[in-house]
């Protein structure tokens, strides 16, 4: 009994500490970033992926580079301030935004109903298609065929959510910290299939043609939006105007041409849930 009491006492102590920290967090003033505040501060803090080329990768100097980075630079230019590119990962994207480490997420962030409860999305600025990728030799035609298959996904990604929703009970879903690690699991043969986008498929077929990968199931057509804190409505409105402007003046098409080798066709509409 004394053992139980001792555990209880220590646990309560830890919870009290956690409560004090939470109270401190809760009582801090709400920090809404507006275009004016960003201009006054003198820089735009943008969170973006660095493990998801060509949307988010790194250049020869190990600096963030890609479609998202170019859009971030254009947005900072529109605000008239320099940009600071802050690398984030799939799982920590939302925490970085909600804890004020960044002003905006431009991180190949799919617009979903679940995420909309947490953040404020801009209109889409890019899109991609999410698939279950597997070797041609593997027979996958319906979600039921996934049961004996081991699948890798990036944790907290839209493909994680989508596969979790359709895969039958007992499907082995291996979650990794990012797409690069999930992809490595596929390449090294630790998994048989992967939840990934058309950009990953293109990269796979270019670098590992011997794997004979093809899309088996189309999970969703994904519209990507910039994400803001719920209170940052002014910044989100600025972003919507900015996206419309760069689509109209051809700058976004030039970014698409640079990273995907084709001009931008048309941005998808804002999804409704």
């Amino acid at each position: 009994m004394s053992l139980f009491k001792s555990i209880l006492r220590r646990s309560l102590g830890a919870l009290v500490l956690a409560g004090v920290a939470a109270a401190t967090l809760g009582s801090a003033p709400a920090s809404a970033a507006t275009p004016e505040e960003i201009k006054a501060r003198g820089k735009l803090l943008v969170g973006l992926l660095t493990d998801y080329p060509p949307f988010g990768g790194t250049d020869a100097q190990q600096q963030p580079a890609g479609y998202d980075a170019d859009v971030a630079k254009l947005m900072a230019k529109a605000l008239g301030v320099p940009v600071e590119l802050v690398p984030v990962t799939g799982p920590n994207r939302i925490p970085y935004l909600l804890t004020n480490k960044i002003d905006v997420l431009i991180a190949t962030f799919g617009i979903t109903a679940e995420r909309q409860k947490q953040v404020l999305f801009s209109n889409p600025y890019s899109s991609l298609t999410i698939y279950v990728l597997a070797p041609k030799s593997l027979n996958i035609k319906t979600p039921e065929d996934l049961k004996p298959v081991t699948i890798s996904v990036a944790r907290a990604s839209t493909q994680d959510t989508a596969i979790s929703a359709i895969a039958p009970q007992g499907t082995q879903l291996k979650r990794f910290d990012d797409d690069a690690t999930a992809l490595q699991a596929l390449i090294s043969g630790q998994v048989q299939a992967m939840g990934a986008s058309n950009t990953i498929l293109a990269q796979l077929n270019k670098d590992y043609p011997q794997l004979n990968m093809e899309p088996k199931l189309t999970l969703r057509e994904q519209a990507n939006g910039m994400a803001f804190r719920k209170a940052d409505t002014a910044l989100a409105e600025f972003a919507n105007k900015f996206i419309a402007d760069i689509e109209k003046n051809g700058e976004l098409s030039a970014v698409n041409q640079r990273w995907f080798g084709i001009p931008l066709t048309k941005l998808p509409p804002m999804p409704s849930f």
Binding site: L3, S6, I7, R10, S11, A14, L15, A18, A21, A22, L25, G26, A28, P29, A30, S31, P91, I94, P95, L98, T99, N100, E114, Q118, S152, R155, A156, D160, T161, K174, R175, F176, D177, T181, Q184, A185, S188, G189, Q190
Partner: protein
């Protein structure tokens, strides 16, 4: 920052977290057993008359102690399959933990062994004991008594290191916590509760090793 606490997702996921604790214990226990085997075996081989064996053990200890655990676990999980050795996440984690803990155990046990007087070993041999009996009865048991607190700390650290196994999707407390966090976005609440879980796990480990110490190493020193 106006953050409103909501523990509902954590409470909903509590059964999963409790079951995941068993996964953490399983990884830790497997790693510890392997670490002890490597530790004792390594100490015996470290002073081998065969030079390459000595060099191998010394190199093994240096390489493992001077590289990050994450790199080691990634090497076993991602690199070895390319050489034809494919292991699932759980065995990978146990082997990685065992190898990592074993390298530290070799050095800890070696320190204990060196604290045993040469005269005691010679006395044992003079009494007609085999070398293996001398090692087991005269060297190892008193050495383990001397180094048990250090070994306990190392094994508690090993238990906490199991959290890194989530990087290869092994089933344990941190990976389940990450799953709850990524579906609820309640980072503070999830990791706050998981912190308490790890505190309890560490404390239980300390108590467990304390009981072993009382049971096997509390005889008086003459």
């Amino acid at each position: 920052m106006n953050y409103k606490l909501d523990f509902t997702p954590v409470l909903d996921g509590l059964p999963s977290l409790l079951i995941a604790c068993l996964g953490t214990f399983a990884l830790a226990l497997g790693g510890m057993v392997l670490a002890i085997i490597i530790g004792i075996g390594g100490v015996m081989l470290r002073d081998s008359r065969i030079a390459p064996v000595r060099w191998f053990i010394k190199s093994f200890v240096e390489v493992i102690r001077n590289t990050p655990f994450l790199v080691q676990i990634y090497f076993i999980y991602f690199a070895l399959p390319l050489a034809g050795l494919r292991l699932d996440p759980t065995p990978t984690a146990i082997i990685a933990l065992g190898i990592n803990g074993g390298a530290y155990a070799i050095e800890i046990i070696r320190g204990g062994v060196q604290s045993i007087g040469k005269g005691q070993i010679e006395a044992g041999l003079a009494l007609g004991l085999h070398k293996a009996q001398v090692f087991r009865l005269i060297v190892l048991k008193p050495a383990l008594r001397a180094i048990f607190p250090s070994l306990t700390s190392q094994f508690v650290l090993l238990t906490l290191t199991t959290s890194i196994a989530s990087a290869i999707s092994a089933y344990e407390l941190t990976s389940v916590a990450q799953q709850i966090e990524t579906s609820s976005f309640r980072s503070f609440e999830v990791y706050g509760v998981v912190t308490v879980f790890y505190l309890v796990i560490s404390w239980l480990m300390m108590r467990f090793f304390g009981m072993i110490s009382t049971r096997y190493f509390s005889y008086p020193v003459k």
